[in-house]
Symmetry: C2
Subunit: 608 residues, 2 copies
C-alpha cells in the first residue's frame, strides 16, 4: 500500500474535516458516481466539466495515482512532467492544431502568440526524445506523466466521466523497430491489466481500431457500466471490440445473370421504409418470399465537416433495416465529423429528391452531373455499407417523387465511390473473426493503448542512427489511463442506495470510527482506538462530533462516505464491546481490549 | 524523509536514465540555476517561461513538495485541489478579472464563455468555504493546495525564477475574528520558517507592506541572492523590508517665516541637475553653504495606466538627488501601473515645459488651468515625496524655458494633491523604526504571507453566523510558497563552477555511484553495492555506462548532477578499496566489505 500524498496511518476528525454531506442529490448530477461524490463531499463543480477536489476526494485520487505510477515504473517507465500550456507550433507540425477542431482550448499570450491547453502530449514527448537521444542504442525508452489535461468537450457529462479538465496518466514508448513497438505495447497492456485489477475495476479489453487500417494496433480498456459512453460488443468466442471498430463480415458476391432488369414503379404514400415494404408486398409481390426492410436500400444524406470548417455532402447507402451510426462513420472518416444534412445542403443539390434518393443520381465523385433543370452540378460522393456486395438486388429511390426502382442490382446498375462502416451494430450480428454472435454492452473507457507508429516521429523529425549508421524514423506507442475518470468509475461500480463503498486500496480511509452517544467514556475510548489504529498504519476517519449530532446522522454519513470498515463505540462499551461492520456486511462484536488488533488485522486482510 | 513520488531506496542507471548532460550553457539561460538545471538534464524549456520536467528534476520537485505538504499538514492545513481553468465570474466579482491586466491568461470556450488560467485562487477558496460552512463553529479552517499556476509575465526570466506556468503551494485561512487571523498568520509564519529551514534555504523575512495601509500584515520570505528580483533593506537593529514597503521617515516641518520670497532666475544651459547646481552655486550662491542636488525639486512626469487601459498623467516631485523608483510607485498606486510619459502625453498638456516643470503649473487635481495659449486644460495631479515637508525651500522649474525658481517654499508657494513613496531607497537611509541605517540586498521571493482581511469575503458574500446568531463576514489570510521557484533558488544557492550540489533532503538521489574502469569485477561490485544500498533505503544513481564512457566523463557528470555523495568503484577495488567523496569535500577510502554500511551511515547523517 502506498499513496502519493499519505503513506502512513493518520486520524481525520469529522469535527474539523473540511467536508459537509448533503442529503439531496445535486441538481446538475445525472449519474450515481457524480451524485454521491458531491453528496459525500469529495468534489464540487467549479464550471461545466471542471471540478474542485475536497480532502477526501483528493486522498482517493492520490491512491489511484500511486497505483498507476507503481505499475508504470514496474515496466521501466520513467516519470517526466510537461506543461499544460503549450505553444502552437509542435501541434501545427502534426496537423493537430487544426484537426482537434473546437475540442481544443486555444488562447493567445500578451504578445499575441498562439497557445493551447494540451489534450495529450505526443508532440512534446517526441520532441523531448529528439532533443536528448540520437542513437538506436538509446532506445527503447518509455516515458510517462500524470498530468492535468484539457478538452473543450461539446457536452461535458456524468461528472468526472467526461470532464474538460481532468487528470490522465499518459505514456509514450519509443522504439527503432516495429517488433520493439510490439514489445512496448504488450508491456503496457500487461501493466494496464495489473492497474485495473489492483484498483478493483472490472475491465474488458476491446479492439479499438478496424483491421482495415493496417498493422497498427489499438485497444481500449472498458469498465462495463450502463452509464458508459462507449458501446462495445463481445462474442462468446472471445471477440471484443468497441462498436466503432467492428468490421462487418462481407458477404460473398451474388450471381446476377438471372436477375430481372431494374424497373421503376409508382409507390405513392410510402414515407417510411415500413410503408414501402407494405406497398411492395401488396402491389409487387416477390415470388419466393415477402419483401422485408432488408431488401430496401436506404440512402442517407450527411454533411462531413472538416476541422477547417469545409463541408462536403455525401450519401451513405445501407440496408433499410439498419440505422446509420454516426459514431461509426466518424471513426471511419475522422478527422471529418458527420452530421445530418440541412435544408440548405439539399437546396444546393437538386438531384437529391428527398425520400426518393437512388444511387443513379449519385457519384462518381469529382464529376459533374445533370441537375433538375439541365444545368451541371457536382456529383455527390456515394459510400456503401459493406453488405451491399455486387449482385445484391434492391428496392430503392428512383429519384422521382412517388417512385421507387425495383431489382436494382449492385455492380450491374450502380456502383459507389467506396464503402464505409456506417450501419449500427446489433446484438446477434456475427463477429468478424467467426467466433459467433455478438452481444452489446456499455462501458466507460478507462485506458487506451495505441501503436502510433511513425506518424508523429516523421512530422517532427524524430530520427536516430540505426546499427548501420543510417537514419531511422522512430516508432511510437501512446498509452493513456484516465485517472479522475477511474475514480468516478470506481464510485460507479462500488455504491449502493445509501452511499459509496470503496475498495480498501483506494478508500480515502480504511476505518470510519463512530463515537455513538454522549458519554465522555465513549469519546475517550474512541479517541484512544483512533490513535492506536493510526500508530499501526491504519487511516482513520473518527466521527468525534459531540453535541447534537445523533448516532443516526453519524451512521448515515459513514455509509455515504464509504470507508470499508465502520467501527462503532457506543452503548455497548459499558459491556466492554465494540462493533465492527464492513461497509456492506454483517456486524461483528469484539471486546474493547483487543479491538485495535482485530481492526488492524481486518484492514490488513482487505489490503492483502 | 519522505517524498511524494518515491519513498524508498531505488537504483537509477545512467545507461537507461532519461537524461543527457550538456557541456555548454544553453543560449537562453542567464543565471546559474537555469544553466545548470538545463545542462544537468533536470528541465527543458517548452516555451518562454514554461518548462518540462525530466526525471531528475521531477524527483527534486517531489521532495520539495513533500516537505511543504508535511509542514502545512502539521499546522492543521487540509489539502484540496482546484482547477487551473476557471470561469470569469468569481474573478469578476472581486475585480481581479480587470485588475490583473495583461498578466492574466484569458480564453474562451467553445460556447464563447470567458475563462482564465488562475494566477491564485482566493476567490475559489472563499466560495468553497461559503458553500460548505455557515457557522462560526466551523472556523477556523486552513486549506491548501499544491497546484500549477499561470501568469503571463511581461518578461519571464531566469528560468524557473519567473515563469509563466509554475507550481505553488497556496493556502488560505478563514477566521471569524481578527485575533483568529493573527493566530492563523503566525502559524503560517512559523510553518514557513520550518519549510525553508528544512529545504536548507537561507531566508530573510521582510515587511511587504507599508504601515500606511492599516492593520493588515504582509511579509515576504526572501532567499538572499544576487540574481533575485526583489531588492530589500535591512538594518543592524533588525528591521527588514522589501523596498516597496519602506516608509520614508517624514522630517519635521521647517519654519519658513524668515524665508525669502521665491524669485525666478535665468538658468540657461542647465539640462541636468548637476549643471543646474553648478549654475546656482556660481550665479546665485547660498550664503550658509553650497547648493546641492538635494536642494532641487525634480518633477517627473509619469503616465498611470489603469487595468482598463485608461491613462492619467501625474507629476511626482522629489529631491533632485534621488531617482524615481517605479516599482515603489507601482506598489503605492496599484493596480495602476506607472510608466514614463510619452511625447504624445506631453502634447496634451502645454503647461508642461519640459526640463523646467515647476509645481505652480500643477494641480489641483480635477480643476482646469490655463494652458499656453490661454485655453483651459485639465490640471495634472501632483504627488510629492514625503521629504518635501512644509517649509522646505527648493530650486525648481519656473515653467518657462531657461528659467528656474529659487526659494520656492513648500506649503507657502505650492501644495500637492498628496504624497507618494516615489524615491529610490538608498543604502544609508534610516530605517523607519529608528533601528539605524539600512543596507540593501537582493533576494528571491520564496514565500509570501498576507492578511487579506475581509475584502474577498465581502465581495463574494462569505459570511457565517457568529456566537450571537448575527452574520459576520469572514476574515482571510493568503499564503504562498513558490515550489518550482524554491527548486531554482536551491540550485542558485548550492552550486559551484562544476555543477549542482544539492542538500541531501532535496537531492534527486543520495548517492552517485561511479563504476570507473572496464573490468567486469568493477561492474559486478558496483552493481552489488547499488542494490544493497537501495535495500537500505538509499537512493542511488549508478553510472553503469560501459564501453567508451571514460571515468573522467563520469566524474564530470557526477559533479554536474550534484548528488551529495559520490562513491567510486575503480582501480583500487583490486586492493579492496572504494572511494567515498562528498560532492564538495575530501575523499575517504573504505574497505569494500563494509562499504554499504559506511555509505548508508553517511547518508543518514546527511538526512538527520
Amino acid at each position: 500500500m502506498s499513496s502519493a500524498r499519505l503513506t502512513q496511518g493518520d486520524v481525520l476528525r469529522m469535527s474539523s474535516l473540511f467536508v459537509r454531506t448533503l442529503r439531496e442529490d445535486p441538481a446538475e448530477a445525472e449519474v450515481a458516481s457524480h451524485k454521491l461524490l458531491v453528496r459525500a463531499g469529495y468534489i464540487r463543480r467549479a464550471a461545466p466539466g471542471i471540478y474542485s477536489w475536497l480532502p477526501l476526494g483528493l486522498r482517493v485520487l492520490a491512491k489511484i495515482e500511486a497505483i498507476v505510477r507503481e505499475e508504470m515504473v514496474a515496466i521501466g517507465g520513467q516519470e517526466v512532467h510537461f506543461p499544460a500550456l503549450l505553444p502552437r507550433e509542435p501541434y501545427e507540425a502534426t496537423g493537430r492544431w487544426e484537426e482537434y477542431g473546437a475540442g481544443l482550448f486555444r488562447l493567445k499570450d500578451r504578445k499575441d502568440a498562439d497557445y493551447l491547453l494540451a489534450p495529450t502530449h505526443e508532440e512534446m514527448f517526441a520532441l523531448l526524445v529528439k532533443d536528448l537521444y540520437s542513437s538506436y542504442k538509446d532506445l527503447p525508452v518509455t516515458l510517462f506523466q500524470i498530468q492535468t489535461k484539457y478538452r473543450d468537450e461539446a457536452r461535458p457529462r456524468a461528472g468526472l466521466i467526461r470532464g474538460r479538465e481532468f487528470i490522465m496518466k499518459d505514456s509514450y514508448s519509443f522504439d527503432v523497430k516495429d517488433e520493439g513497438l510490439d514489445v512496448s505495447y504488450q508491456k503496457h497492456r500487461e501493466a494496464y491489466e495489473k492497474i485495473f485489477t489492483r484498483l478493483g475495476l472490472e475491465y474488458v479489453i476491446v479492439s479499438a481500431m478496424s483491421g482495415a487500417m493496417g498493422g497498427s494496433r489499438s485497444e481500449e480498456f472498458l469498465s462495463p457500466s450502463p452509464i458508459g459512453e462507449d458501446t462495445f460488443v463481445r462474442s462468446a468466442g472471445g471477440y471484443a471490440a468497441n462498436v466503432e471498430a467492428v468490421v462487418t463480415p462481407v458477404p460473398a458476391a451474388v450471381p446476377y445473370d438471372d436477375a430481372p432488369a431494374a424497373h421503376v414503379e409508382d409507390t405513392p404514400d410510402t414515407p417510411t421504409i415500413a410503408t414501402l415494404v407494405d406497398v411492395a408486398n401488396a402491389k409487387f409481390p416477390r415470388p419466393d418470399r415477402a419483401w422485408t426492410a432488408a431488401d430496401t436500400l436506404k440512402n442517407v444524406v450527411l454533411a462531413l465537416v472538416q476541422p477547417d470548417g469545409t463541408r462536403e455532402l455525401v450519401v451513405v447507402g445501407l440496408p433499410g433495416d439498419r440505422e446509420v451510426d454516426l459514431k461509426r462513420i466518424e471513426a471511419a472518416l475522422t478527422p471529418a465529423e458527420p452530421e445530418a444534412a440541412t435544408e440548405e445542403d439539399f437546396k444546393k443539390f437538386p438531384q437529391l429528391v428527398k425520400g426518393y434518393i437512388g444511387p443513379q443520381a449519385l457519384g462518381p465523385q469529382g464529376e459533374q452531373v445533370e441537375g433538375e433543370d439541365g444545368e451541371k452540378v457536382p456529383a455527390i460522393r456515394y459510400l456503401l455499407d459493406p453488405r451491399v456486395v455486387p449482385g445484391t438486388r434492391w428496392i430503392t429511390g428512383a429519384n422521382e417523387p412517388g417512385k421507387h426502382v425495383f431489382d436494382l442490382v449492385a455492380g450491374r446498375d450502380f456502383t459507389a465511390d467506396g464503402t464505409v462502416e456506417a450501419a449500427e451494430v446489433r446484438a446477434g450480428d456475427l463477429a468478424p473473426d467467426g467466433s459467433g454472435p455478438l452481444e452489446l454492452a456499455r462501458g466507460i473507457e478507462m485506458g487506451h493503448i495505441f501503436q502510433l507508429g511513425r506518424k508523429y516521429a516523421e512530422a517532427l523529425g524524430l530520427v536516430v542512427l540505426d546499427e548501420n549508421g543510417k537514419q531511422a524514423v522512430v516508432t511510437m506507442g501512446s498509452y493513456g489511463v484516465g485517472v479522475t475518470r477511474a475514480l468516478a468509475a470506481l464510485a460507479e461500480a462500488n455504491h449502493d442506495e445509501r452511499g459509496l463503498a470503496w475498495p480498501a486500496h483506494v478508500a480515502p480511509v480504511h476505518v470510519h470510527l463512530v463515537a455513538a452517544g454522549t458519554d465522555a467514556a465513549i469519546f475517550e475510548a474512541a479517541e484512544k482506538i483512533a490513535e492506536e489504529l493510526a500508530a499501526r498504519g491504519v487511516e482513520v476517519l473518527y466521527d468525534d462530533r459531540a453535541g447534537k449530532t445523533s448516532p443516526g446522522v453519524k451512521f448515515k454519513d459513514a455509509e455515504l462516505l464509504g470507508a470499508p470498515l465502520v467501527v462503532t463505540v457506543g452503548k455497548s462499551l459499558a459491556d466492554g464491546v465494540v462493533e465492527v461492520r464492513p461497509r456492506a456486511g454483517e456486524a461483528e462484536h469484539f471486546p474493547v481490549d483487543g479491538i485495535v488488533d482485530a481492526v488492524a488485522e481486518r484492514v490488513e486482510a482487505l489490503l492483502a
